[in-house]
């Protein structure tokens, strides 16, 4: 302690006296500079010269005329006047007052008017009421939701599942939860609209490959690999995803999943699979396209599907490993910010799952029906059948397009109307022409369900044939 016992202030003052002059000058300049920075700095304002006077502003405001909020819609726009369905949209459906056989709703397994499903939904309605009055975080989680999630996970044999209250929002929220700005997504050109919206929301780089063309995909992946080698530091943080549909709603064909899985491991890209059309349809137990190809479900990073088609309820779900899925509970916008699925709809979905589990026979029936319809629709003059034989939603396109989309649509619409008059409900597949990235050609959608009998199918096919022979001269 002895030498250090000087009072510190004294030392400081002494040091100040002893310091060389240049040191003091330097410090003085430094202090002055800081003072200048603090008090005399001007904020940089660009375009000072553009300043408008108040008068000029007023004139501009007076002059400005906005476009109308919406452009006028022509009275005969094909999507303006919806067909009105009276009563339930089940196998027998009443469209515009006419009872028809339903070849248009995605009610593949015919669960929409199943009494078992209805009873469960009613029981749930009597217990919980209709709405949930809150998002999942704030007292919107019902025990039914948890049960449905675990049932879905069990059904799909994955670690975890997460449910959304709207089918469309499922994949559209899931993609941006993982893929951010700067990441890269490889997408099939025929991807459905909700995938496209998800891509848009993610703000990632999007690379489209030709529909089901694995060589094209591999070419893109190779290109990317070269790019990565040039800039390995960036590559280490750039996530890469492949987004495909199991069964494409727009083309009715199936993705080459085994090949995709091979590419996944070769190029270290994650696969997101949208299975809205294939869940509850393909595979021995209706698990979808993974079961169809015998692919290990763990090789797919995320599977999303909606419960609005085969399950005939409302909503959607994602399933996969907990490591992946759990992230959405805090990052899936459609999950966090939206009211949860009404419990009665969740209960209906649970019961539908039970039916699917108890009776896997239903899937082979559906498959038979699909190939039957596929067979029957072959060779209609003027119409081209698109889709694989086991797809439940097939497309009939014009063999020779007139070159004008709206007149093609008009033609197809008249075929549909002709069939409607003969009690067969079909529909023209609708798209937003300005929004779709790759517009699918106009088509009539034919949906196969297990409820359709041989006679129904025969009748429908003969109706279509007849209409085609009338309109497609």
């Amino acid at each position: 302690m002895a030498a250090g016992q000087q009072w510190v202030l004294v030392e400081m003052v002494q040091a100040f006296y002893e310091a060389p002059a240049y040191h003091l000058i330097l410090e003085g300049i430094l202090i002055l500079w800081i003072v200048r920075l603090l008090f005399f700095s001007k904020t940089y304002k660009p375009h000072e010269t553009y300043k408008l006077t108040e008068k000029e502003k007023e004139d501009l405001i007076e002059e400005w005329q906005p476009e109308p909020l919406v452009p006028p819609v022509s009275k005969d726009h094909p999507s303006l006047n919806y067909d009105v369905v009276t009563g339930p949209p089940s196998h027998k459906i009443i469209i515009n007052g006419k009872e028809c056989t339903n070849f248009a709703s995605f009610n593949f397994l015919g669960l929409l008017d199943s009494d078992r499903v209805k009873d469960k939904a009613l029981a749930s309605l009597k217990k919980y009421g209709v709405g949930t009055c809150g998002p999942r975080g704030f007292y919107g989680t019902f025990d039914v939701h948890l049960e449905l999630e675990s049932r879905l996970a069990k059904f799909m044999r994955t670690e975890e599942a997460i449910i959304y209250s709207y089918g469309f929002a499922t994949i559209a929220s899931a993609i941006p939860a993982y893929s951010k700005r700067g990441d890269i997504i490889f997408v099939d050109e025929a991807a459905c609209f909700s995938i496209q919206k998800g891509l848009q929301a993610s703000r990632s780089f999007i690379k489209y490959f030709k529909h089901n063309d694995m060589e094209d995909l591999e070419r893109l992946l190779k290109e990317q690999e070269l790019e990565d080698q040039k800039n390995p530091r960036k590559a280490r943080v750039t996530r890469k995803f492949i987004v495909v549909e199991g069964l494409y709603i727009n083309t009715a064909d199936v993705c080459p999943l085994p090949e995709l899985v091979r590419l996944k491991y070769k190029y270290k890209v994650r696969i997101f699979l949208e299975e809205s059309m294939s869940f509850g349809v393909l595979g021995e137990h209706g698990k979808g396209v993974t079961e169809h190809f015998g692919v290990n479900i763990d090789d797919i990073d995320l599977i999303s599907a909606n419960m609005e088609n085969a399950v005939a309820s409302i909503g959607g779900f994602c399933c996969g490993r907990s490591f992946v899925i759990d992230h959405q509970r805090l990052s899936g916008q459609g999950y966090c910010f939206s009211a949860s699925l009404p419990p009665m709809l969740a209960a209906a979905a649970i019961e539908a799952l039970s039916i699917m589990e108890e009776d896997p026979e239903i899937f082979s029936v559906l498959k038979r029906r699909c190939s039957q319809v596929h067979q029957a629709l072959q060779g209609i003059p003027g119409l081209k059948l698109v889709g694989v034989p086991f797809s439940p939603a097939l497309h009939l396109q014009l063999e020779r397009s007139s070159g004008c989309r709206s007149s093609d649509l008009q033609l197809l619409r008249s075929i549909v109307d002709h069939c409607l008059d003969r009690h067969v409900a079909l529909t023209v597949a609708r798209y937003l022409e300005k929004e779709e990235r790759f517009m699918p050609p106009p088509s009539i959608r034919v949906v196969v369900t297990v409820e359709q009998t041989d006679e129904d199918i025969q009748k429908a096919v003969s109706c279509i044939r007849e209409a085609a022979s009338i309109f497609l001269r």
Binding site: Y82, G87, S105, F106, G131, K268, F323, H327, S331, S338
Partner: protein, 564 residues
């Protein structure tokens, strides 16, 4: 970090401020700075009343909204608390990284370890180290109607919230101050439920097609006509999900070369919709009309950036009641501005429809305005109607356009029939078309409850945000530990509340939120208030430094009745 900060929510819907999250700290600082300069009571309302003054003629009744300033000491302590928790977060991450501590988080699959990591390390820091510790306050599973009282599924955790176990027991009769059940239509008995039951019998639950193809049921048409009548607009359209109503219907309305002026606290769905539309987005200060007017003037005067071409159209996007702030949009002023500058107005009434106005028709009704002045009336059926979905109302041309161009109409499955039926019956009750005064009673009950609850809380000395008439009541907690403590202590007293923290709110403005319902009886509110006061003392939450009003003139007429 900017993007991921929005995604690391502390809770569900609350995280509506993805845009604001990152500059929250800055805001806080600015406010504190003000406190330095005016050490006496500084509050935002002073500036508010200033900007209300010149336009007060537009309001038919007093518009009182307040946001009391955060006390400086509290702000400092809050930052300190976050600091300590962050240090411990790094410490735990360090332990986990070196495998000293067992990691409860799910792992990447062995085969995919050499892939680019799915999450950045920092991405979930907040979730892992703060949210996880108090996550028992969110996602509480319930097993009854989300009415005035709910039954919660009891769950316990043996590893500090990493996993939960359900004990199989049920916590009965928890007073529900969290659900958006404003008019109490979340019921499993009564006219609405029985109508929904009948519809389920008749229609089933699904539709399995889109509106445009073959999923347009007669019940949907009926619903839309009713909604249009309810709102007082020419036409309307209903959609299956409230969130999607915003995010899928803004894009068809605006596009490149259009400008969207959005309130800084707008809900995530509006933000997403605006972003998907590809328009330029500019954000004005929350409910601040000067800020909006300045943006409007500049936008028209300067045109689009760089090219200086005039904007094609300008869309102002506001909400009726802001669900985290409890504030009501200054609609008369917005409409005046919109008319003066020829902009269009998109009004999201997610929380206000049914909850405000003498006839329950939302903010427009509350201010006594003409619904035709609002170009796009949007709202949800989730809250006041106890159902699900959303609507858009407006002129016939608008709706016709949407019917052909809405993403939802063409690509998404239409609304479930029993849900549509629930909306129809509850809306008819509100309109009095069922021949009873049930709807009127509920509306009156809600507004009485709101006034009573807000006044009591303020008298107790809590800092309460928002408008006096808003049934959304945020109570400020500030400190991170108090978020967890408040939720737990309230549940101990059998009251279910929502607590919200960063990133849903600015970092220091953590809060609890109560949603008053018409289904709450005076006894329930009193029980809740007693518990809130008790917990408020225990946690030292009575921050307010304003003189507590003994009686405010507006309330005196029912003073004797309300005083307990």
């Amino acid at each position: 970090m900017t993007e991921s900060s929005g995604s690391k929510l502390l809770n569900g819907e609350a995280c509506q401020r993805t845009l604001r999250g990152k500059n929250a700290g800055k805001n806080g600082f600015v406010k504190n700075h003000c406190v330095f300069e005016h050490p006496r009571k500084y509050r935002r309302p002073t500036e508010r009343s200033q900007n209300a003054a010149p336009n007060s003629s537009l309001y038919k009744k007093p518009f009182s909204e307040s946001f009391e300033e955060t006390p400086l000491l509290v702000a400092v302590l809050t930052y300190m608390g976050y600091g300590i928790l962050t240090i411990f977060g790094y410490f735990r991450d360090f332990l986990r990284h070196w495998n000293i501590e067992k990691c409860h988080i799910a792992h990447e699959r062995e085969q995919q370890k050499d892939f680019v990591p799915l999450y950045q390390d920092f991405e979930n820091f907040y979730t892992r180290n703060l949210y996880m510790r108090i996550r028992d306050n969110w996602n509480r599973p319930i097993c009854s109607v989300p009415g005035a009282k709910v039954d919660l599924v009891e769950r316990v955790t043996h590893n500090y919230n990493w996993t939960f176990e359900h004990t199989g027991k049920v916590v009965k009769d928890v007073i529900n101050m969290g659900s958006y059940n404003y008019l109490g239509f979340a019921e499993n008995t009564g006219a609405c439920a029985s109508a929904a039951i009948e519809t389920t019998h008749a229609y089933g639950v699904g539709v399995a097609s889109t509106r445009c193809e073959i999923g347009n049921l007669d019940i949907h048409e009926e619903l839309e006509q009713l909604v249009a009548r309810f709102l007082g607009v020419e036409s309307s359209m209903a959609f299956g999900m409230g969130f999607a109503t915003n995010s899928m219907n803004i894009p068809p309305l605006t596009g490149k070369g259009c400008l969207i002026l959005s309130d800084e606290l707008n809900h995530a769905s509006l933000v997403l919709g605006a972003r998907l539309s590809g328009s330029t987005i500019r954000v004005f200060k929350h409910n601040n009309m000067q800020s909006l007017e300045k943006l409007l003037r500049d936008a028209i005067a300067h045109g689009q950036p760089r090219t200086h071409r005039p904007w094609k159209k300008i869309l102002i996007v506001v909400e009726g009641i802001y669900s985290m702030e409890g504030s009501i949009v200054r609609l008369p002023e917005v409409i005046a501005l919109k008319k003066r500058y020829k902009a269009y107005l998109y009004l999201d009434e997610a929380h206000s429809i049914g909850a405000l106005g003498p006839n329950g028709r939302g903010v427009v009704d509350y201010f006594g305005l003409d619904p035709k002045d609002v170009d796009i009336m949007m709202g949800t059926f989730t809250k006041s109607f106890g159902a699900a979905g959303g609507y858009i109302g407006g002129r016939k041309e608008l709706i016709d356009y949407l019917r052909c161009h809405s993403h939802s109409a063409l690509y998404a499955t239409s609304m479930s029939p029993p849900v549509a039926q629930q909306i129809i019956s509850s809306m008819k009750i509100i309109m009095g078309e069922d021949g009873s005064t049930l709807g009127k009673d509920r509306l009156r009950q809600l507004s009485e409850n709101t006034t009573y609850f807000r006044r009591k809380l303020r008298e107790m000395g809590f800092i309460i945000y928002g408008n006096d008439d808003s049934p959304v009541v945020p109570l400020m907690l500030y400190m991170p530990a108090k978020i967890g403590a408040f939720g737990r202590e309230m549940l101990k007293r059998n009251i279910g509340t929502v607590v919200v923290g960063f990133p849903a709110t600015p970092i220091i403005e953590s809060r609890a939120r109560f949603c008053v319902s018409a289904a709450h009886t005076r006894e329930m509110l009193d029980t809740a208030l007693r518990a809130i006061s008790e917990v408020g003392d225990l946690l030292q939450l009575k921050y307010s430094r304003r003189e507590r009003p003994l009686s405010t003139p507006g309330w005196t007429y029912e003073e004797s009745l309300l005083q307990d």
